[in-house]
Subunit: 234 residues, 2 copies
């Protein structure tokens, strides 16, 4: 995603500029453009934690057209409220996929905190993209919107399908020794009012199986039971 410009138009709050830069740094994007930012905000933002490199390289433009120079795909972000949209509008999941597939430089636009993208800004866009959110509270904070959009761009669809790495489970031998030690403990401690039956042995084995122990934890439990047994017999 080296080719992606993140463009903030008219940002007012230094914390938001800093937060946008930090999310870019977290997710591996480096090209930040500011269109007509509030000067004081931009200056203050430069001290944002951990994103100095991105803020130092950030470029400032008087107009959006200047910032978009060289881009062959322009995508606007909007909550999609209160206006008739003239561009195609996609949910983030789909919009991000279209951006990833684009060959060439692309720009992702975020409007000002208060007003979002203007109608003039929107007319530069090939399509618009919205973060799915509650109808009663559509509009995200600017820094959080940048983070969520960039995350969707770098998330790995297959990472959700990979199941956890297989762990080394307790062996059947460990389970049997565990069952024997636990039975002895139960007998000696008086938990069993009678001596163990085939049925109680089976229930004990199933009880241990359901613990779903891994190999290492089985070793720890074997040690614990040995110690308890030793003490009970003392």
């Amino acid at each position: 995603m080296d080719g992606l410009k993140v463009v903030l138009t008219g940002p007012r709050n230094p914390l938001n500029i800093g937060a946008a830069a930090r999310a870019m740094s977290n997710f591996g994007f480096c090209d930040l453009c500011l269109v007509n930012p509030y000067e004081v905000a931009f200056r203050e933002a430069r001290s944002a934690v951990g994103a100095e490199a991105i803020l130092e390289q950030a470029r400032e433009y008087p107009t959006l057209a200047d910032a978009l120079s060289g881009c062959s795909l322009v995508v606007g972000t909007t909550a999609g409220e209160h206006r008739e949209l003239r561009q195609p509008y996609y949910r983030l999941e789909l919009g991000a996929r279209l951006i990833r597939r684009h060959q060439g430089a692309a720009a992702l636009l975020f409007g000002s905190e208060k007003y979002g993208l203007s109608n003039d800004d929107l007319s530069h866009c090939d399509f618009l993209m919205g973060i799915p959110s509650r109808p009663e509270h559509r509009s995200l904070n600017l820094g959080q919107a940048v983070a969520v959009c960039l995350y969707e761009l770098i998330r790995h669809p297959r990472a959700a399908r990979v199941m956890p790495a297989p762990r080394k489970s307790a062996t059947a031998e460990q389970t049997e020794v565990l069952r024997e030690r636990l039975r002895s403990v139960l007998e000696i401690s008086g938990y069993y009012s009678h001596s163990a039956t085939a049925g109680s042995e089976r229930r004990l084995r199933a009880l241990i199986k359901r613990l779903n122990l891994n190999h290492q934890d089985a070793v720890i439990w074997l040690g614990i039971l040995r110690q308890i047994l030793w003490r009970l017999k003392a």
Copy 2:
């Protein structure tokens, strides 16, 4: 996802508490718990834009164990640096999937801005989850981390696969009338030094086809060309 508690342990910055509440409001989560928050920060956060309801209902607990009461799944978030983890550690894409599949109340834990989750906090967790990020800058801002995790929980895997709704394209008849009008404009305006040939007609048709006009825009262009023709002939 009504059953999910968002638990912040030891948060220090009112802006982050407010940002967490706002992301919860955006993505439809309502149960915010604060463990041992910095009191001043909690008080100040209550004025966060648009998330008053969540902050008013937020509950405060002296210990993490108190906050986790009733939860049958506890998931910690961590950048996974600097420590040996004793719990399974999954990327967000997978971890969120496991949370969605869980039957019963679940808690999602976020540590303090400076130190993250303590080893004691981690020992309460069934598994840990990390947001994929650049190794050189792993740690996200707290408010942004909450937003990204909640977004992953509510994102719709199939939304990325749905392609844009089919649009109503320009008809072949419209394309032909467009071509005829454009040819007349080119002849009268002197763009063509000779009269149109079968080859130039073909190229003109292909040129128009590549515009990939929708039905409505074709009507607009037909009107524009009619007006230009009228003026050229005047």
